[in-house]
Amino acid sequence: MNNFLTFNGLESYFFGITQIFFIACSFLYFIFALIVVKQVTSMSKSVIDKFNVVLILFSFIHLGFSILLILTMFGL
């Protein structure tokens, strides 16, 4: 496949399209991570327990990683 793309000069197009696809996916994932943060916060308000703080913290760490994912996709 590599030879085929290089031979026809399609390599840069292929990786460009892949990068756009990855960026779009990572943006969607970021929105999903925001929803998770919102949901965990509302769950924690509904049922209050000792470890809710830890769970909220995890959701924020996840959000941080989703931002890292976007940055990685842009850096490709």
């Binding site: 990855f22 049922v47 327990d49 996840h62 490709l76």
Partner: protein, 240 residues
């Protein structure tokens, strides 16, 4: 003729009136009060006898949890029991998530992926691990916040489905009509968990505690609470 009580201001012809010190009566404990507190402590003992004790907050069977509470709780409402589905029900997603952790190790054997540069491969692996994490997190949250509560006033079922839907169902103890339980399958019998079905006379016909540990203990507790509720009602009717 007690013109003055202060000894320094007494005239010689004044009649001294010494008022008797007021006896401090010991705190009056009405028999009714002590009786009710006795009843309460007896009932607490009964709960401990039926349910036993739990310490871990991650337990699926929390007896009189001190910290756990919920938004719809009344001021004087006391939680006797908080139950989650038995932990063994988490086994399937735990196994899946462990497998998901190892999947990136096999990426190198897929020749098509080797065509991509290292940066792309790193991004793909990062994405994969984020998906794995959110899968585990979502499953854990669904288990952790899926609670069945028995309080001194009502039974409550709180469910969160797929993080986006909240389901809250409650029924007063006085509204409970029938309670039944079913333990099914090898795992259910081995680990002693099953469903507890509570039929009520309220708008919500039934509340189902699904896959909860020790269903027989829950039934016993509900029976005790219903008896207590009946006693209260009978007492109230007799007083009238």
């Amino acid at each position: 003729m007690n013109r003055s009580k202060d000894l320094d201001n007494i005239a010689p012809d004044d009649e001294i009136v010494v008022s008797a010190p007021i006896k401090e009566s010991p705190k009056e404990t009405s028999p009714k009060k002590s009786e009710s507190s006795d009843k309460k402590s007896n009932f607490s003992q009964t709960i401990y006898d039926i349910l036993g004790h739990t310490k871990s907050p991650f337990s699926a069977f929390l007896i009189r949890p001190k910290i756990l509470t919920f938004a719809e709780r009344d001021e004087n409402e006391e939680i006797y029991l908080a139950v989650r589905p038995h932990w063994i029900n988490n086994l399937s997603w735990i196994i899946v998530s462990i497998l998901m952790l190892f999947i990136p190790l096999f990426f190198k054997y897929i020749t098509f992926l080797n065509f991509f540069p290292t940066q792309y491969q790193f991004a793909a692996v990062l994405f994969w691990y984020l998906i794995t994490f959110i899968y585990v997190f979502e499953k854990f949250l669904s288990w952790y916040f899926n609670l069945f509560l028995v309080t001194n006033e009502r039974v409550i079922d709180i469910d969160f489905n797929n993080l986006l839907n909240k389901h809250f169902a409650e029924a007063d103890l006085s509204m409970i009509q029938d309670v039944s339980s079913s333990v099914r399958g090898v795992f259910g019998t081995f680990f002693n968990f099953g469903d507890v079905l509570i039929q009520t006379a309220s708008e919500i016909n039934q509340i189902n505690f699904e896959k909860v540990p020790n269903p027989e203990k829950i039934i016993k507790l509900l029976k005790e609470l219903r008896d207590l509720e009946e006693e209260k009602n009978n007492g109230g009717n007799n007083n009238e």
